[in-house]
């Protein structure tokens, strides 16, 4: 078991509207992800530790971790 669990893209925001016009936004939120080469914000869970969700800024080319913030305070 590893200390952290990876979830994925932290840049997507859950739509607030339940209106039919929000369909594209919901499909974007649930299914579509960018795949950037470079710094990327991702959600990681400190699952074998304090159970905090973290926003980790990672360079996808080098795996370098550039910044880590608590998700609770991040957005």
């Amino acid at each position: 078991m590893e200390e952290f669990t990876y979830r994925g893209d932290a840049t997507v925001t859950r739509p607030e509207s339940l209106d039919a016009s929000a369909t594209d936004a919901w499909v974007d939120y649930v299914y579509l992800r960018d795949n950037p080469a470079g710094p990327h914000k991702e959600h990681w869970h400190h699952s074998a530790g304090c159970h905090a969700w973290l926003v980790v800024t990672r360079d996808t080319r080098t795996h370098e971790i550039l910044a880590v913030e608590f998700a609770r305070e991040g957005s």
């Binding site: 078991m1 669990t5 979830r7 859950r14 739509p15 607030e16 339940l18 929000a22 919901w26 939120y29 649930v30 299914y31 959600h43 869970h45 699952s47 159970h51 905090a52 969700w53 080098t62 795996h63 370098e64 971790i65 608590f70 998700a71 609770r72 305070e73 957005s75």
Partner: protein, 829 residues
């Protein structure tokens, strides 16, 4: 027939002649272990450069780990007759090793190869603890896997000598010059009686001096370089052997072992020399593999005719021969410099170096020969995979011009040595054949592991039942006493059923079910995930994570809840009780306990941090038992301390509350039923779990109570029509499971919007149904297919999922969304 002939005759023959060996068919009998280590400076390689680096860093106060794959430190110092500070190098080596061992924070790992570089300064190393003894001592591991996290690393991995490519260069007795010197200088073993040295670099001709000094005749020195080298000439003089520059070995005589070589000098004249050992050297390739594991590309150094490290991973430096610094003095200097710099980067202040000095030999530049153009016989490039120069020629004729392609066509460099001696020679042959400059041909990518690593070493002790921790329920000891058959449920071991003497499994399950239906039974349900949810916004929070509503639930009541994923499919279900205005107690399925907890934490911390709510897993804090059957109330009532009322009026269906049992032990009681019978779930702090199950059995004895396992639990939930794991499969919606009415239309919740997509709500979707057998003697097995009465048992008549099933509907509706009626037949009973 042809297939059988291939399998029985050809393939074994080919495998045998290719030396492919046989896979072991028994479990690895040895122990392996894994460990972690942390340091400031990791020095990889314990030769002259590595020792200097470790000393420089260690003297500055840095925490140092020094790894070397040999059982003795020293690297090439052990195989050469060098001098350091005017003294034999071995004296310096002894002193350096002693000083390192006296440093407080220096760990020396011998027989240890660093084989991989990973993110964040993580290095993997394999220590061959007991490979050198026939049978490891009892309780001692054969190998140990190290995960080392280092702030800085200095790669002093040295260099690997390259063979020369000429006909019959694989004859026994043809060996690398460095290997010949190791035999003579390190082990005191004579590799032959009379030798010839064939090389294109000065260092290799030292072999002649070393051999002569050891009393082994040297018959000729063959230098591939056109201009005579003074150093090589001096070596020839000391060995009293003829020296030929601009010459090459063009033929090797001797079938089973080398007897003589034919050389062609620069004038094209042939001459024969007897020898039983031919020391050859095509120069040295820096061992830069570790520098490329994170994607760095090696660079071609024209002056050295070698690939040297290019971009390095963060925190890594390279010294000594691995950096292309081949002379001993350069190794000592670069090791010292890199070690001090690494310590400085960790915040230490190394003092001005007083480094040891070795005599710098005046060397004639190496001028790589690569291959002898005209020679007789097969010239091997890859000695392990039997790839010859002519194989590479064929590959280029077929149009493969890139090393990666030639590699796959010929298997060059694909053996367990991963091309350590052959890659560059292969690239040189390709360059020559395609008229390109060798630096432009490139090389293949080096990936971990640097050296073969047994899978067992990566696994360590996590084998068989120790693959992961086994979680035992609070009633495990009780169940074992009752001869329970256990089943793995995730990491848990749960009682499957409790057989009595002479009972067949099906009879046991039938008896357990019948007893619950007619009397009373008890089942450990502690494995269900339990999550405590508290806060003034707890109700709002649950409304958002459940498809149904919980904020309206009365205190002292429980409700069945369905959780969806954000894409609208069912994720998990369970009952959640409201214990106080701001306090809920949630249960999840056993399988999804961890996942749901993580999901709730995500919702709480990321989606709605503004809500005043906290969640914590309480799965292990509570032992919980389901007591089910017509006599359940009597059993529970007997456990309760006096003055507590659980009559139907006082404690109706779906009631939840706190009580005390067995003389003051706090307990929580829920009137839930998974079986359809009158039933309670009773929870006590886990440390009382064993006592409680025994108290329940005692209280239930007058009513004929039996413990029942998960098999009976499953039978009864199917009879009741409850969806569970096989149906909540990630491919079904609440509607599919017959729970569509639960889904709220009044609020937003996880999965609300996507769950309303037409394809997820359409009437033709598969739905969960129960089956009632007409013929009760024929068993319906899980996974059985249903066909209409008297219809042929063909796929098109199948009423549940089978290949044509989704197509028919999808083509009609033009739907992009497919679903699977998983569990439809499994539900049938």
């Amino acid at each position: 027939m042809a297939g059988a002939f291939w399998e029985k005759v050809y393939e074994p023959l080919i495998r045998r002649s290719a030396g492919l060996g046989r896979a072991a068919d028994t479990a690895d009998p040895d122990h392996y272990e894994k460990t972690n280590a942390f340091c400031d400076v990791l020095v990889i390689g314990g030769g002259a450069a590595g020792l200097s680096a470790a000393l420089a860093a260690g003297r500055a106060g840095a925490r140092v780990i020094l790894c070397d794959e040999d059982f003795r430190l020293g690297g090439r110092l052990l195989a050469e007759r060098d001098e350091i500070d005017g003294q034999p190098a071995l004296d310096w080596l002894k002193a350096a090793e002693a000083e390192l061992m006296s440093l407080p924070d220096c760990r020396i790992l011998r027989r240890t190869t660093v084989f991989g570089v990973y993110d964040g300064g993580t290095y993997a190393a394999i220590e061959r603890v007991n490979d050198h003894v026939p049978v490891p001592p009892e309780h001692a591991p054969r190998q140990r896997l190290w995960r080392i996290v280092a702030k800085q690393s200095v790669v002093c991995a040295g260099a690997i000598e390259r063979p020369l490519l000429f006909g019959d260069n694989d004859r026994p007795g043809v060996m690398l010059a460095g290997a010949v010197r190791s035999y003579v200088n390190r082990y005191g073993a004579a590799p032959g009686r009379h030798a010839v040295v064939f090389a294109d670099n000065d260092a290799a001709f030292r072999t002649a001096t070393d051999l002569a000094d050891a009393g082994i005749a040297v018959n000729a020195l063959i230098d591939a370089r056109r201009d005579p080298s003074p150093a090589a000439q001096a070596a020839a003089e000391s060995a009293r052997a003829p020296y030929f520059s601009g010459a090459a070995v063009t033929s090797v005589r001797g079938a089973l072992g080398i007897k003589s070589v034919l050389i062609t000098d620069m004038n094209g004249q042939n001459q024969q020399f007897d020898c039983d050992v031919l020391a050859m050297s095509g120069g040295w390739s820096p061992t830069l593999n570790l520098t490329t594991h994170l994607g760095g590309k090696p660079a071609w150094d024209n002056g050295l005719s070698a690939l040297v490290p290019g971009d390095l991973p963060p925190g890594m430096s390279v010294a000594g021969a691995a950096a292309g610094k081949f002379s001993l003095d350069a190794c000592l200097a670069s090791g010292e410099g890199a070690g001090a710099e690494a310590a400085r980067n960790c915040g230490y202040s190394p003092s001005a170096p007083a480094r040891p000095v070795a005599k710098e030999e005046a060397a004639t530049p190496a001028s790589p020969l690569w291959q002898v153009e005209k020679s007789r016989g097969k010239a091997f490039v890859d000695f392990q995979n039997d790839v010859t120069v002519s194989d590479v020629k064929l590959a280029t004729r077929e149009g493969f011009r890139v090393p990666e392609h030639v590699k796959r066509y010929t298997t060059l460099g694909m053996a367990t040595d991963q091309g350590k001696t052959s890659n560059l020679n292969g690239a040189a042959v390709i360059a020559g054949l395609t008229g390109r400059y060798i630096g432009a041909v490139g090389t293949t990518t080096f990936r971990p592991p640097y050296t073969p690593v047994a899978i067992a070493a990566l696994v360590g002790h996590h084998r068989g039942p120790d693959f992961r921790p086994t979680r035992l329920t609070p009633s495990h000891a009780f169940a074992k006493e009752r001869n329970a058959v256990f089943v793995e449920a995730g990491a848990w071991l749960r009682a499957l059923y409790f057989p009595q003497a002479g009972e067949a499994p099906q009879d046991t399950v039938n008896r357990e079910v019948a007893t619950v239906r007619s009397k009373v039974g008890v089942c450990d349900v502690s494995t269900l995930g339990k999550i405590d949810v508290q806060g003034t916004d707890a109700g709002t929070f649950l409304d958002r994570v459940y498809a149904n509503t919980f904020s309206t639930l009365a205190v002292g009541k429980a409700r069945y809840g369905m959780m969806l994923r954000e894409d609208g499919f069912a994720m998990d279900d369970g009952t959640t009780a409201r214990l106080a205005e701001d306090h809920y107690f949630m249960t999840t399925t056993t399988a999804n306990a961890v996942k749901v907890m993580q999901h709730l934490e995500f919702c709480q911390q990321v989606l709605w941090p503004e809500l005043d709510v906290q969640t914590v897993s309480a799965t292990e804090q509570w032992a919980q038992y389901a007591v089910a059957g017509p006599k359940a109330r009597e059993v529970i009532a007997a456990l309760l301390d006096s003055g507590q009322d659980i009559s139907n009026e006082a404690f109706p269906y779906m009631a939840a509350g706190s009580f005390t049992v067995c003389g003051g032990t706090k307990a929580r009681l829920y009137r839930l039923s998974f079986s359809g019978e009158l039933a309670y779930e009773i929870g006590v702090p886990a440390r009382f779990g064993d006592a409680l199950i025994r108290a329940i059995i005692e209280a239930g004895a007058p009513h004929g109570i039996v413990p029942y396992g998960t098999e009976a639990l499953g039978v009864m939930r199917i009879e009741k029509g409850h969806a569970a794991g096989p149906e909540v499969s990630g491919q079904t919606t609440a509607h599919d499971l017959g729970l569509g009415k639960m889904v709220s239309k009044k609020k937003d919740f996880i999965g609300r919007f996507m769950g309303e997509r037409p394809a997820l709500t359409e009437i033709e979707r598969a739905s969960m149904v129960g089956l009632r057998p007409v013929d009760k003697d024929t068993r319906i097995r899980a996974g059985a297919h249903l066909v209409p009465k008297d219809a042929d048992a063909t796929a098109s008549n199948d009423q549940a999922m089978s290949p044509p099933w989704p197509t028919r509907r999808s083509s009609e509706a033009g739907s992009r969304w497919r679903c699977s009626p998983a569990g439809r037949s499994a539900t049938a009973k």
